[in-house]
């Protein structure tokens, strides 16, 4: 379970990510320390062989891990990605990409998260990437002084 105020802040922030919107990504699950994002296959998500682009996989994972971390921080604080590392496990082929982010350690300044990314083809998930990332917690800017 997650507090309504946290969920509201997370969804509002996610809606503001133009990159996720352009790729058609949606937030399919949110829980305390957990976030699942889904993204349909499209030309905008593809590399040269018709699979999901490795960088797009990283982008979805970055957001999934970041919002998993934000469930521990929002609404008072939020996180910035300090770094992430992604291993490709298999070619990401299919109709849907699913990224599941989990907080491993919710520190005061640094939050560590892992993200598993799956490609769903004909309804069957294949584990295609694994991410380990570090997020840096900061106080949130008051709404009126945030860049829009």
């Amino acid at each position: 379970m997650i507090e309504a105020g946290v969920a509201t802040a997370v969804h509002a922030s996610f809606s503001g990510q133009g990159a996720m919107r352009a790729l058609g990504a949606t937030m399919s699950q949110l829980d305390d320390g957990f976030c699942e994002l889904e993204m349909p296959f499209s030309a905008a998500a593809a590399q040269q062989h018709g699979y999901f682009h490795g960088g797009v996989i990283g982008a979805l994972a970055d957001s999934a891990g970041g919002y998993a971390a934000n469930t521990k921080l929002m609404p008072a604080r939020e996180c910035l990605t300090a770094e992430y590392k992604i291993n490709m496990l298999a070619p990401a082929q299919g109709e849907l990409l699913v990224a599941r982010g989990r907080v491993v350690r919710p520190g005061r300044s640094l939050v560590i998260a892992t993200v598993e990314v799956y490609a769903k083809k004909d309804g069957v998930e294949q584990h295609c990437a694994l991410v380990q990332m570090t997020l840096f917690a900061i106080d949130r800017l008051p709404i009126e002084s945030r860049p829009e």
Copy 2:
């Protein structure tokens, strides 16, 4: 300097990356072991505060490092990204993102590359991300058996 056959193969492969096309990325330089990509700011590249999305920065870097590696492999072979690690150095704000990939070690099976990413604001570049990556070299599929 780079052989014409190599440059042709690299440009053809890059043109086939739907993700790069959707983000408006272009290949601005190509040399032996080096590749520079540029991407204009757009809503499709943004996170919630109006900066370039960390995942999009990773995606541009992934392609820049990959094509730097491909100058050592194409046209007979090509690389797949095995993994990459990205550190964010500063918020990526500005009108243009520039990623410069360089091969550090051109192994037979594994190619190691680094990528520096800069955000250009009012014409001034700021170093905003640093990437270290591992690429895995494979034989290229004959054109007729490649997924389109």
Copy 3:
């Protein structure tokens, strides 16, 4: 369960690691795709505040992940570490360091593994580091031509 020939080859290789011997590390568990190593605290394992040194934690994790991978490769083949990434989760304080390596994807050329490292203090384990790594599989040299 693991075949006797695999276990013998893994133990023989581990016994040959001078670095692990100098740190007093022992192999406490071995299973298919899994390896657990233990290392007692000592001055040779310490950093300046009396905790386990971050680099020593990485060294133990490197070996644990490597031998987890070797259970999938030995005796005919073996792995080299291509790269690893380690996140420190908490100061590693206590009488014992325990690293548990697990294979995530046993590819033909690249094996991906994760390693969790725990510090045991007064018998209680604390999760202190998380590792994600890539190993490269090669054919083993015949015994007579191996460097000793």
Copy 4:
């Protein structure tokens, strides 16, 4: 050039690292944002084929990057390793290991550094590893309350 107070604090801290002492590592250069460490080959630094152990290479790099960062922080503050990522470029064979750490971005809370590691054989250096790391800056404990 580096202030005497900084150099004194760095050397004192490095002398306290039992792991570096056990491996015979010495600090061969120190400058603003830069640190070079050297380590002779020994059984305690070896893996099973008689090369430098990948984890030991990581350990030397961790310390080199950490003290490069500390030149920006000490004596008032110091850094902890948040994470590092190391790519092996070539088997590390020779009589000496040399790690050169450089600060890429000296942030207030997070310091980013890279480390190049070379193996010196018959006096010739070969580039054998590349590291990218994140350090977290903290206030130093007063001497009387530090763990010894």
